[in-house]
Amino acid sequence: MLIGYFTEQPYRGVTEEQVLKHGSYFGISNSNFDRQLGSDLYNEYLDEFCYAEELGFDAICLNEHHGNPFCMSACLNISAAVLARITEKVKLLLIGNPLPAHGNPLRVAEELAQIDLTSRGRVISGWVRGSGPEQFFNNKNPSFNREMFEEAHDFILQAWTKPGPWRYEGKHFHYRHVNPWALPYQEPYPPTMIPGVLSLETVQWAADRNYPYLGLASSLAPTAELWEMYADRAASHGFQAGPENFGYLGMVAVGDTEEEALELAKYFLFAHGNRLFARAEHTLPAGFNSEGAIKRLSSQASGGWLGLNREKIMGESLGKKELTEEDLHIARSEIDAALQKMRDNYQIIAGTPEHVKERIETILRVARPGHFVFMNVQGDAGKDQRRKNMRLISEHVIPHVRKLAEELDLTSQYDVKPGSRRLASGRSRTRVTHPEILRMREAA
């Protein structure tokens, strides 16, 4: 079991009202950015990652978004480079580099090699397509997003493994001279993990390459279903998927009392949380998703990935409409209802240490991930609240998770190489999840 710590590194200077009125985090004017606060926060988050190492987390997880106070981290490789030097032993789990947004895979290959060398081989490299707003912010054609992602990924692996110099003429990328001098510390290149939010296409892509898939706070039941699809795909390539092929990221808030934990958990839904990450028109630009994915999303009456549903996708853009006080009141009461719903489906795990241990145990028994990532709260929760949460997780929850992982044989990709469990010819695969346990627990 590999245990990670993650934070979106929220900018803590916007109010809920600002986000609700704008209709999303993405697109709030940077005239609201406070340079002093920004400077303080970047430094605080680096310190927080060091604190995670002190507390015994195995990995610190970094991501990036652009033009968005939801996540201040705009260049994850920069943070990773700093942390490569100021931490000692934690893995640097990058979830992940948005390859189409970068638009220069050779540069990414060089950056990651440098980080892996500086950290002496602690990088776990994740690749992502980037979310919709990233395509707008970086002006990358959403219709070529998947093509660019796949080409950039394949190119980077070549850049790390094929002796240079050589020339590359691809579809979206062209290089006269590929010969990155610095190569990754880990041979032939760092281990990989692919984060995703219930995208079948991404799961299949990951399974085709034996890459572990990290479910990002997705509801437990559909996550288990999706992992069975991963396992099907893996079996079609002749291997049995195991816990080393899966990771689960949970939003976790622990308090000394139930009340304290629930107050803390509300920060995950600060201004509706990721539901207002971006407006529908930015989350789902034309051409960004497959026809099948659009059909699925546009048939959802409610809920849905990043709050998308039929009404939002097929409706009018919000534009700059001002919300009334009554609208704001309704929005806030919806946040309370959403918290309960997300606790019920295991996206948010909040409570006393005992309660949290019990909920995570269910996740481990049902989904059997070999990697578990604790995500800290969003919004403007203060430094002390954030650190107390980390400390309680470390003192009370992590020991239990490790013990249980041992008992359930939840192997990480450092314990068992993904794809190494070969299926004997003619043998069918075994199940990788146990949704019946979830049904039994829900019934009880």
Binding site: N141, K295, S298, M314, E316, S317
Partner: protein, 257 residues
């Protein structure tokens, strides 16, 4: 009269097109949302013209072609299509279809006789900006194309609740438009220079309330094309042909006659 469907194979790819009316052939290049069906203006122009309406590859009916990556590629492909009907031919292009018509004329002015560009995209506006319809939802995009959503024909084709099938067609059209026109957004920096060599008589039509195509696009076309005249239709948006079909038909008939 309703256009009948036909299809043609160019390099083994199926290009579906509609044809209807009788008389001198007239090429119709639809806009970035796809051809909405046979409207009143098609009926009336059909009295003197056989209209040929290719349905753009990738918009749901004609096969998408991976190698077509910008409007100039598409223009070269359509040039092959048009030659099968005999050239020169008159053409009307709407919005992105006007962009396409201009690219075709730039490649080979001999493809066309007279050219009508309606709410034309394709050139950097001298002032103002082309509306970023890819940064809004399909419904908002559609609504932005007209000044008057109560226009009879607008209601007929886009009124009421949007069905899933219509939504998916819009999304396919918008995805393909994104593929070809994302950056620079819906214009070709070299097109004005090439249009200097296009001697064809050209009529540019724009609604005075057009949100999609700024007046600056019309001015850029006027200064690039040696024989262009511009006409505006009062009180309509980006779809003068359905918002004020009388005025539109009058202008087009007069120009093509």
């Amino acid at each position: 009269m309703v256009g009948s469907e036909d299809c043609i194979e160019i390099d083994l790819a199926r290009l579906v097109f509609l044809r209807g009316g009788a008389g001198k052939p007239l090429l119709i290049l639809h806009d970035e949302l796809g051809f909405p069906g046979w409207m009143r203006w098609n009926e009336e122009l059909g009295e003197a013209h056989e209209q040929i309406v290719p349905l753009q590859p990738g918009f749901g009916r004609s096969e998408q072609l991976d190698w077509i990556r910008d409007y100039r590629d598409l223009a070269a492909y359509y040039a092959r299509f048009v030659r099968q009907f005999g050239t020169p031919i008159d053409v009307i292009g709407f919005s992105a279809g006007a962009y396409l018509a201009a690219e075709m004329a730039a490649i080979d002015p001999g493809l066309f006789n007279k050219i009508v560009l309606v709410g034309p995209l394709g050139v950097r506006p001298t002032h103002g900006e082309i509306y970023d319809f890819l940064a809004v939802t399909a419904r908002t995009h559609v609504a932005a194309t007209v000044s008057n959503q109560d226009a009879v024909e607008f209601g007929k084709i886009y009124g009421g609740t949007m069905g899933s099938e219509q939504f998916m067609l819009f999304e396919a059209a918008r995805a393909e438009t994104s593929r070809l026109g994302w950056q620079p957004f819906m214009f070709d920096p070299s097109l004005p220079a090439l249009l200097k060599g296009v001697p064809n008589k050209t009529l540019i039509i724009r609604g005075t309330d057009d949100l999609i195509c700024p007046l600056g696009c019309v001015e850029a076309y006027e200064s690039a094309l040696p024989n262009a005249v511009a006409n505006s239709i009062e009180g309509v948006g980006h779809r003068p042909e359905i918002e004020d079909p009388d005025a539109f038909i009058h202008l087009v008939r007069k120009f093509l006659s």
